[in-house]
């Protein structure tokens, strides 16, 4: 399933005006200019269906694979997921034909098809583990603290007195593309760590979680509020990683 053939690939050309059709299956998605910038993405996406030849020369990688956001004039990939999307739409009484039907006005006339990368790679990703004792102590200097000229309290280093340090913290920094969610990154990061430690049969984690109170990350608190839609539509990447390993061996 991670085979690249018949995927949609995002080839944003450096010069946005220069969109070339490259024999075969490229669609260029041009945006009309009659709507406000809020309604339209400003970049023009040059969409290409990956061919066997592309695969042979390793022209693309998993980083380039995109999927459609359903709307007018969108291209579906030519593999199983394209079929899956079609059947999803069909069971909801929709089809590309009905979606592409011209509407003169109303919200439907303004919903553009677009594309989005399937996999996001955080850039300039750094992380450091810290040991700390007080749940409320400042670990990372925040902008507000800097503005208020407050010194960073308890600047904990990894080399703190080990007998005092009881809690483990993780500070991560990274860049994401516009439109990509840090919450999804965190979900993946924390789930994966949990899976691994489960397999390792850790008991310390269970014991430590008895001191409930602050025993949650800020993000985890948020995500517990309404995970129903998220759980319906997503899967963890540890599952995906295992699948792709199997696929590559074939």
């Amino acid at each position: 399933m991670v085979s690249l053939t018949s995927n949609l690939i995002d080839q944003i050309s450096p010069d946005e005006e220069d969109i070339e059709a490259e024999g075969g299956a490229i669609d260029s998605v041009k945006e009309d200019n009659d709507d406000s910038p809020v309604d339209n993405p400003t970049e023009e996406i040059d969409v290409h269906v990956v061919t066997e030849e592309d695969l042979a020369v390793s022209r693309y990688s998993i980083r380039d694979v995109i999927l459609p956001l359903i709307g007018k004039n969108v291209t579906l990939p030519e593999h199983q997921t394209g079929e899956f999307i079609k059947s999803l739409l069909l069971e909801k009484g929709l089809s590309l034909e009905t979606i592409n039907r011209v509407e003169k006005s109303g919200v439907k006339s303004r919903v553009r098809g677009h594309y989005r990368r399937v996999i996001e790679f955080p850039a300039e990703f750094t992380y450091r583990l810290v040991n700390y004792t007080d749940p409320n102590e400042t670990i990372q200097q925040t902008e507000i603290n800097t503005l208020n000229l407050q010194p960073q309290e308890g600047s904990v280093k990894e080399s703190s007195n080990p007998s005092e340090a009881t809690r483990l913290g993780l500070v991560i920094e990274f860049n994401l593309s516009a439109g990509s969610y840090a919450t999804m990154l965190l979900r993946e990061l924390m789930k994966e760590a949990t899976d691994t430690s489960y397999h390792a049969g850790l008991t310390a984690a269970t014991a430590a979680s008895v001191s409930a109170g602050s025993a949650r990350t800020e993000k985890r608190k948020e995500s517990e509020i309404d995970e129903s839609v998220e759980n319906e539509s997503t899967a963890s990447a540890s599952k995906r990683a295992r699948e792709s390993e199997c696929q590559e061996k074939n």
């Binding site: 991560i172 994401l176 691994t196 430690s197 025993a215």
Partner: protein
């Protein structure tokens, strides 16, 4: 640097996040971080995209109604009673469900702007669901449509 920034010019965002009470051991955490760097993560839309109704009446379900041109369905979803609703909100919604648009309008909270625009239209023409839905601010209409797109994307990406 002399031109003002316009919407759509954003190339990305940088995040600094502190996670506390990490339960795993350092080696596991390191492995997880390194794995993330090399494998990336599924570029799903987060739950913020789907509005407060969740699986019951989230924006993406209203979005589906839009794509189906089912305007009554879209409006009905806006007034669907939710477990988390306050009693006064439930009252307003109940009035709508009984077809009493005038009462519903009077019971609305000041913050329920979209619902107000809808009811204003329905009070003057109870059958014009198309007009009622389109009385909602355009940006809000689009949020629902985009939520549906995002939901389909998430499902497709999972399938992939």
């Amino acid at each position: 640097m002399s031109d003002p920034i316009a919407l759509g010019q954003l190339t990305g965002n940088r995040f600094e996040i502190v996670l506390r009470e990490v339960q795993s051991d350092p080696a596991t955490v390191q492995a997880a971080c390194e794995g993330l760097k090399s494998t990336g993560y599924m570029n799903y839309f987060g739950l913020q995209r789907f509005g407060r109704g969740g699986s019951e009446s989230g924006s993406h379900l209203i979005g589906l109604q839009i794509f189906q041109s089912n305007w009554k369905g879209a409006v009905d979803l806006m007034f669907k009673s939710l477990a988390a609703d306050r009693p006064d909100v439930l009252q307003a919604k109940a009035a709508y469900q009984q077809g009493d648009y005038v009462t519903a309008k009077n019971l609305l909270l000041p913050s329920m702007y979209s619902e107000m625009k809808v009811l204003e239209r329905l009070v003057s023409d109870p059958r014009d669901y198309h007009g009622a839905f389109h009385a909602i601010p355009r940006s809000t209409q689009l949020i629902c449509a985009h939520a549906f797109q995002s939901f389909i994307f998430n499902l497709a990406a999972t399938h992939r």
